[in-house]
């Protein structure tokens, strides 16, 4: 481990700015003070770790006050309103209610009769942008697979905003927010970034304002295969834990050392230990999840969600007690050994235990159909006598992922004052026969199936066969 960090430091030292930063900035005081407090006019200084160096420049696009009337509304938190009204203005939800909900005159009103309204769909696990299409080698930016622990890398530095996948997720999936994670080659893959699903020239224009960072970790087969295959640690599951634990111990020591020079990797780990950065842990097997939860307690951090948790159903009780969400597929199974016990009842069995369920994609195609995946998982439960209402199931792809991404207070449900991230579906979203008809992000109409010009086309697709096609 020490070699890896030495190498990381060596790279950081290569830049003159890094040298300067090291001399002027202590680990935790923050660059603002370091810069402002410096009395030496000539001293060079980087911004500090709390200065949000790649800050969001997203601002809601112009919108007009809009209401949808007569639709069936799923509010994302388990509520259902028949023949309801959603009214949004100024980019926010202004009111949600029954047919008598007042709507001002002179605003745009859509007839939702026979249609359905949900909050914008949220994918907690995506690689759009860092494994974009076309999936050529030159675009392979999701795994910094050169060290088993790379907490210093940030997914946002790999996101290509022109990935056509963002537009498909919007148009076919109603996706309004998503978390882009580093891949799972490493035990500690780096920071994730949460995005608004708006077309943009820069990733900063997509960054979800105020969203906390996530931290990607991975259990099991991938890290031990990648590094074991190179004859280095970890090559086993026990090696995975050993490397993780030593890395956490080093981070704790760093946090407690006021003299330590800045270390990007440890800044991320300290952010996790302080609860500012949320852990998203790729982990398939139940027994490994149980071990990870103990490791988290040992080191003093919390796992927010296990991703790809195909065996979560075996430990729904433990996951509930530890308040950890399971982000899962509906029906992926058997493609690798640790996915061998995948069953379609996973979500329903977790729900039976009162544990948190999130349906995720990890896939540029499935992100276009999270609603269908949720419906499959619901039906599997129904066949086993576990009846989960439609309105609750919609929460698996709206409110629950929002909560687990730390943005549940501002989006993920249709509540007064929240961001007007809204999807109007042309039928029940839990049916294979339904599609998004309109998608609003912060009250701005970003997709309209009825109007070909309200359909984003990425730079990459311009002038190509099928540019602007319905897709």
């Amino acid at each position: 481990m020490t070699t890896n960090f030495a190498r990381g430091l060596g790279l950081a030292m290569a830049g003159a700015w890094a040298l300067a930063a090291c001399t002027t900035t202590s680990s935790d005081s923050g660059g603002a003070q370091a810069g402002a407090a410096s009395t030496k006019a000539a001293a060079l200084a980087a911004k500090g770790p709390r200065d949000d160096p790649f800050a969001s420049t997203y601002a809601p696009y112009p919108n007009i006050a809009t209401a949808i009337r007569g639709a069936t509304i799923y509010d994302g938190k388990g509520g259902k309103i028949e023949n309801g009204v959603v009214f949004m203005s100024g980019g926010k939800i202004v009111s949600v209610g029954g047919p008598d909900t007042p709507i001002p005159a002179d605003i745009a009103v859509f007839d939702g009769t026979g249609k359905f309204v949900t909050p914008g769909i949220i994918d907690i696990h995506s690689h759009l942008g860092n494994y974009p299409t076309p999936g050529v080698d030159a675009h392979s930016d999701g795994n910094e697979a050169t060290s088993p622990t790379t907490p210093d890398v940030w997914a946002e530095h790999s996101v290509w905003p022109q990935d056509p996948g963002f537009t498909r997720a919007l148009a076919n999936g109603g996706i309004t927010a998503l978390q882009i994670l580093p891949g799972s080659a490493n035990l500690m893959g780096g920071r994730s970034v949460t995005l608004k699903n708006v077309p943009a020239r820069t990733v900063q224009q997509m960054k979800f304002p105020g969203a906390p960072y996530g931290f990607k970790m991975a259990c099991g087969e991938n890290p031990k295969r990648v590094y074991g295959g190179r004859g280095r640690m970890p090559s086993t599951r026990m090696g995975n834990f050993a490397v993780n634990r030593q890395t956490w111990l080093d981070a704790i020591e760093y946090a407690n050392n006021e003299k330590a020079r800045r270390d990007l990797a440890k800044e991320t780990l300290v952010g996790v230990l302080r609860g500012e950065i949320l852990v998203h842990n790729h982990c398939y097997r139940a027994d490994e999840m149980a071990l990870v939860m103990d490791m988290a307690k040992e080191m003093g951090y919390k796992v927010t969600a296990f991703h790809h948790a195909v065996e979560a159903y075996k430990i729904g009780d433990l996951l509930r007690e530890n308040d950890v969400c399971s982000a899962i597929w509906a029906d992926w199974y058997g493609f690798k050994m640790e996915a061998y016990d995948g069953i379609m009842e996973n979500a329903a069995y977790l729900a039976r235990e009162g544990a948190c369920v999130v349906i995720h994609s990890d896939d540029a195609n499935d992100i276009q159909r999270l609603n269908q995946e949720a419906a499959k998982a619901q039906a599997a439960g129904r066949r086993m006598g576990i009846n989960i209402p439609d309105a609750t199931v919609i929460g698996w792809i709206t409110h629950n992922p929002a909560k687990a991404m730390g943005i549940g207070d501002v989006t993920g449900s249709l509540e007064v004052g929240k961001m007007a991230d809204v999807v109007l579906w042309n039928g029940n979203p839990l049916s294979v026969y339904s599609r998004p008809e309109k998608v609003w992000i912060d009250g701005a109409l970003m997709f309209d199936a009825m109007n070909p010009k309200t359909r984003p086309v990425s730079d990459f697709e311009l002038g190509q066969p099928g540019a602007g096609d319905v897709k």
């Binding site: 076309p134 992926w332 199974y333 050994m337 016990d341 995948g342 086993m384 319905v470």
Partner: protein
């Protein structure tokens, strides 16, 4: 090679013959889907005798001596037909020792014969049977050379005779992937294909050990003598040639092969940009096994991908089946078909009617696979593969309540159902979960 064909034909006869345990089944009060592209028939019946469909639809007379089963208004359909798949050729994809789908280290390609290694009780077969798939095309995939080998048509009843039709088709990759295998260029793949077919032409009608010019690069055998021999039925039109191609230009070059090798019986696989050349495909009467929901420019050969691809090709008169290989797993075939129905409500998109969508996962793939009228359809004389569903079979929440293959009711159990039962609760107060089975 004549001997090969004779063997194949007799194998069909054997595999499609009524199994010893064949049941007679008379299903009444059903919403019957014939599978031929038509819409469901309310209040219909299905009669299977001796493992074969006798009649299906409305007005089927109750036969004497056959126990009847009330479907209670539920959907009754032919078994789904999945093409292409690797069912029976792998337990766990990423566990190499369990996976026979690629043989890149072998000096064989076109001569590979999937029918020799089908594991009829593979968990993947059990899981997909429980999803309503009763027959499938299964094949090894190109790895050492552009030829993937000879795929088989199998049934999913788990008995000793999984193979309905051995060596039903040869698979060749003329897409980006084929170019890479052939040495880094599509151009090389085209030369390799032509060279191989010419070797096969030279062998046609000859007996004994094949004497050919082998094509070898380093330690890779691109075409061995047995591969050339295996291509004789392809070049003489007695075995279908499935060609993987995505880009419009690549599809055109596949269609052009007929000018040089007129007897080729071509089938396109993938065809993400097929809609751009749909009229040409239709004119050439080449059927397509198309990726259903691809809509991303995953590679430069799929720039024009759209979910409307199949709908547009169908509208242009192309025969199209939905490719199971393109879904996350083949049990998503019905979901894919349902999505194509959904497209009919999206302005500017092209989809399929419900009946067409269902046919694209039943009778059409069966027909492309050489079982026209004999599988994937509830027509008199067809195999008695029948599924009773708990809902609309194309809806995401639906699964089969009962599955019959050649008239025999199938178990719907698997490793997954075992886990489902064991973990229906987490109660270990008396004994660990290991005692709950």
């Amino acid at each position: 090679m004549r001997r090969f064909v004779a063997l194949a034909a007799s194998a069909v006869a054997v595999a499609l013959a009524a199994p010893a345990l064949a049941q007679d089944v008379f299903i009444t009060n059903a919403r019957v889907v014939i599978g031929d592209g038509g819409e469901p028939i309310e209040g219909g019946s299905v009669l299977v005798r001796g493992g074969r469909v006798v009649a299906a639809g409305s007005g089927v007379a109750a036969p004497a001596g056959v126990p009847s089963m009330d479907a209670d208004g539920r959907w009754v359909t032919p078994g789904l037909f999945a093409t292409l798949t690797s069912l029976g050729l792998a337990d766990v994809d990423a566990v190499g020792e369990s996976n026979d789908v690629r043989a890149g280290g072998a000096p064989f390609s076109a001569s590979l014969d999937a029918s020799l290694a089908i594991n009829s009780t593979s968990q993947n077969i059990l899981v997909h049977r429980a999803a309503g798939i009763t027959r499938a095309a299964t094949t090894t995939l190109p790895s050492g050379s552009i030829f993937g080998g000879q795929g088989a048509i199998i049934d999913l009843d788990g008995d000793a005779n999984a193979v309905t039709l051995p060596r039903a088709f040869q698979l060749v990759d003329l897409s980006e992937g084929g170019g890479r295998i052939a040495g880094g260029s599509r151009v090389a793949a085209q030369v390799l294909l032509r060279g191989a077919l010419r070797e096969a032409q030279a062998l046609a009608g000859r007996s004994g050990m094949p004497a050919t010019t082998e094509i070898i690069k380093g330690d890779k055998v691109m075409l061995g003598r047995f591969d050339a021999e295996a291509l004789v039925p392809v070049v003489t039109g007695r075995q279908k040639l499935y060609v993987m191609a995505e880009r419009a230009a690549d599809i055109r070059s596949v269609l052009a092969l007929k000018a040089e090798f007129p007897r080729l019986d071509l089938v396109l696989v993938g065809a993400s940009e097929g809609w751009l050349v749909a009229a040409e495909i239709a004119a050439a009467k080449v059927p397509v096994i198309a990726n259903g929901l691809d809509d991303l420019p995953e590679t430069f050969q799929k720039l024009a991908s759209t979910q409307s691809n199949i709908g547009r090709m169908k509208a242009a008169g192309v025969t199209v089946a939905i490719n199971a290989e393109a879904a996350q797993n083949p049990r998503r075939l019905s979901q894919t078909a349902g999505n194509l129905v959904a497209l009919t409500k999206v302005p500017g998109a092209a989809g399929l009617s419900w009946g067409e969508a269902f046919a694209a996962i039943s009778s059409v793939p069966a027909s492309i696979s050489g079982l026209a009228g004999r599988a994937g359809v509830l027509a008199p004389g067809a195999v008695g593969d029948v599924v009773i569903w708990d809902g609309d079979p194309l809806e995401v929440g639906s699964v089969p309540a009962k599955v019959f293959i050649s008239g025999v009711e199938q178990s719907l159990e698997s490793h997954q159902s075992g886990l489902r039962q064991r973990y229906r609760d987490l109660d270990e107060s008396a004994r660990p979960k290991a005692f709950d089975w």
